[in-house]
């Protein structure tokens, strides 16, 4: 018996029972689509995160006081100062170390208050830390100018409130300064406004006002920094440098490396993938059981027909093949429908997952235009092949038992069936 004929007959059998076939196919398509969408979205998420790390900060370590924002049970009261900056530059593999101050601030904007950050550091380092950062208007303050600031896009163009123009005054209330209970009043001149950027290295550039390091020192009345950015010359050396620093300081400082962040995020996305994956797998399993059931019913309904086929001279293996190809064909059609459906769902999922990988209030690893926060799903060739082959395999296996039953029927008994 020729394969072409077997599948032509299988197709006719499926068409004969349109509703039943359609529902079984739908089951396969949905299960397959979910698995495809999920894996593609997770791959996209991973790619997005890895991509933005490569772009900004793959070779930047952030050193912070242990007892600060990132405190994790450390009771150290060690504070970072210039001597630490000097030490860090001596570590092999380190290109430079840039100290910074970071505080929360409330921007007074025509009556309304907007939350932002104030960061004091060597302003010329900004383009080095954040690759691709550009100025929308104005110029960076001159060296020695402690009254001007570089203002992030969202601060200058808030969603509610009056925009702040170039060379206008920005007045704010800075919180967290030692020795002051409430906020400290502070005013700067906006000499430059940055183009929209997004988040990087746990900072939201668009929501920050950058002031020169000396200005921050005056503001904080303290020689102790909030943290130090350490630039490593080679991404490969990052782990060694990190170990060196951690060995030297033990629990007195907190070292944050992008690699760590990446693995934590990947662990989370891994869990997510597993969870959603099991839902998809269960769905596909249910669809497969559906095929077993549908086929079993078909075989019983066509008992007489099977008797006729045997009388005409079809061998048991041929009858097995005929029913098995019906199951396989269901799988093939379901797989293709699932591919199309999964493609659409991937983009929907990408939107959902975007909140994790990028955009405002994310984990700090969005890229340019991170305000959008949409993840592009990634469809590898292996994934597409898997999505096409796996449902077909499952469907064929599902059809095995009913097809076997059909092939083993006694022709005489079958012919008498009502």
């Amino acid at each position: 018996m020729q394969f072409v004929d077997m599948f032509k007959l299988a197709y006719k059998a499926l068409v004969d029972r349109k509703m039943r076939s359609a529902l079984t196919i739908l089951g396969i398509a949905v299960g397959s689509a979910i698995i495809l969408a999920l894996i593609a979205s997770s791959s996209g998420l991973n790619a997005s995160i890895s991509g933005s790390i490569e772009k900004t900060g793959a070779n930047v370590l952030t050193i912070r006081n242990a007892g600060g924002f990132f405190e994790r049970g450390s009771t150290s009261t060690y504070q970072l100062s210039q001597q630490d900056v000097n030490y860090l530059t001596t570590i092999p593999g380190v290109v430079a170390a840039y100290p910074f101050y970071s505080y929360g601030a409330s921007i007074n904007n025509g009556g309304t208050s907007l939350q932002a950050s104030v960061v004091g550091m060597d302003l010329s380092v900004l383009p080095v830390l954040y690759q691709g950062l550009t100025v929308a208007s104005g110029t960076f303050p001159e060296l020695g100018d402690t009254t001007s600031a570089v203002v992030g896009w969202q601060v200058a163009n808030p969603t509610s409130g009056t925009p702040i123009g170039l060379n206008q005054m920005v007045s704010m209330s800075v919180s967290g300064i030692k020795g002051s209970a409430g906020g400290v009043s502070y005013t700067v001149l906006a000499s430059a406004i940055l183009a929209p950027y997004g988040t990087a290295l746990f900072a939201n550039i668009d929501d920050t006002v950058y002031i020169p390091l000396q200005a921050a020192q005056f503001l904080s009345k303290s020689p102790y920094f909030t943290g130090i950015y350490v630039i490593v010359d080679n991404t490969d050396d990052v782990t060694t440098v990190q170990t060196d620093i951690e060995t030297y300081y033990s629990t007195n400082v907190r070292v944050i490396s992008p690699g760590q962040i990446l693995s934590s995020i990947q662990a989370i996305t891994g869990q997510l993938t597993l969870f959603l994956g099991s839902i998809g797998a269960v769905s596909l399993f249910v669809a497969t059981v559906g095929i077993v059931n549908t086929m079993y019913v078909s075989v019983m309904e066509r008992t007489r027909e099977i008797g006729i086929l045997k009388a005409i001279g079809y061998r048991p293996r041929q009858i097995l093949g005929m029913f098995l190809s019906e199951a396989a064909l269901t799988g093939v059609i379901g797989a293709f429908c699932g591919l199309a459906l999964g493609y659409v769902i991937s983009f929907l999922m990408g939107g959902m997952l975007g909140g994790i990988g990028g955009g405002r209030g994310g984990f700090g690893f969005g890229g340019p235009g991170g305000a959008g926060g949409v993840i592009q799903p990634v469809f590898s060739t292996e994934l597409i092949l898997f999505s096409l082959v796996f449902p077909v395999v499952l469907a064929t296996v599902a059809g095995l038992y009913p097809a076997w039953r059909a092939s083993k029927m006694n022709a005489v008994v079958a012919l008498k069936y009502e």
């Binding site: 020729q2 004969d16 009388a311 005409i312 061998r315």
Partner: protein, 265 residues
């Protein structure tokens, strides 16, 4: 009840008459069908039900045989045995020189495909296929290429006068037409024997005559052996030999017409 012209009552004990028949048969070569003391016992729980209790017969190539008998006499069982659909409990069945005991399930299937055709009272066509697709089915099993089997099936449909209904489904055909499609299907593989289980049971008398005339015609032109189980005297009267079965045994055999006066060797 049956036409007795040239009727010869063949009594197994009547050696002279059986010799004449034997000679007649041997002249036509090995028998198309031979059963040697076949029995068939069905077991239900602890109860054995003997459907056939020792049937021996020889059917020559080109014979038109009818098998009659009361319900439950075992005639359908005998047909299933001859059709290689059911193995005997004891005894041998030999079709066209092939002892069925020598064949496994695949071998029997191939035998049925190549040498045996079936026609049933309820037609047994596949509803979702068209007439020509139904007729093609035995050839599909054999792997005959598309174009060849199309033309052979069409020829067969023409032979039963239904070429114009090739694309119609069984639901669109009358009972008589469906039976003719079934006959075309049975003949498409050019089998040695065609077995009919009440082939005219579900059709009106006009169609019965049509169907019978096709059978006789095919028998004359192709020399196909026909074995028909029937209750219909009109059918029986068309045949060469009438075998009566009762209680699982052959009760009597009657020769109604001389085989060589109708069919070529």
């Amino acid at each position: 009840m049956f036409d007795n012209r040239l009727a010869k009552h063949v009594n197994p004990r009547d050696s002279e008459l059986s010799d004449i028949v034997e000679k007649q048969m041997t002249a036509r070569g090995p028998p198309a069908v031979q059963t040697i003391d076949v029995t068939k016992v069905y077991r239900s729980g602890h109860i054995d039900y003997p459907a056939l209790r020792g049937v021996s017969l020889k059917i020559a190539k080109g014979e038109l045989v009818s098998i009659v008998g009361p319900s439950g006499s075992g005639k359908s069982t005998l047909l299933n045995l001859i059709g290689a659909l059911d193995p005997p409990t004891s005894g041998r069945v030999i079709i066209d020189g092939v002892d069925l005991r020598k064949l496994n399930e695949d071998g029997l299937a191939v035998l049925r495909n190549q040498k045996i055709g079936f026609v049933y009272q309820t037609f047994n066509l596949i509803q979702r296929l068209t007439s020509i697709e139904n007729v093609e089915m035995p050839l599909v099993a054999r792997g005959v290429p598309d174009k060849i089997r199309r033309s052979r099936s069409l020829k067969m449909l023409s032979a039963v006068g239904l070429a114009q209904k090739a694309k119609k489904r069984p639901t669109e055909l009358s009972g008589g037409e469906q039976q003719r499609v079934a006959i075309a299907r049975a003949l498409v593989t050019q089998p040695a024997i065609v077995l009919g289980d009440e082939p005219t049971g579900n059709v009106d008398s006009k169609t019965t005559n049509e169907v019978l005339s096709y059978i006789v015609q095919v028998n004359k032109t192709l020399g196909t052996t026909f074995i028909l189980v029937t209750h219909n005297p009109d059918v029986a009267n068309m045949t060469h030999r009438l075998i009566t079965i009762k209680d699982g045994l052959i009760e009597k055999e009657q020769y109604l017409q001389r085989i060589d006066s109708y069919t070529k060797l």
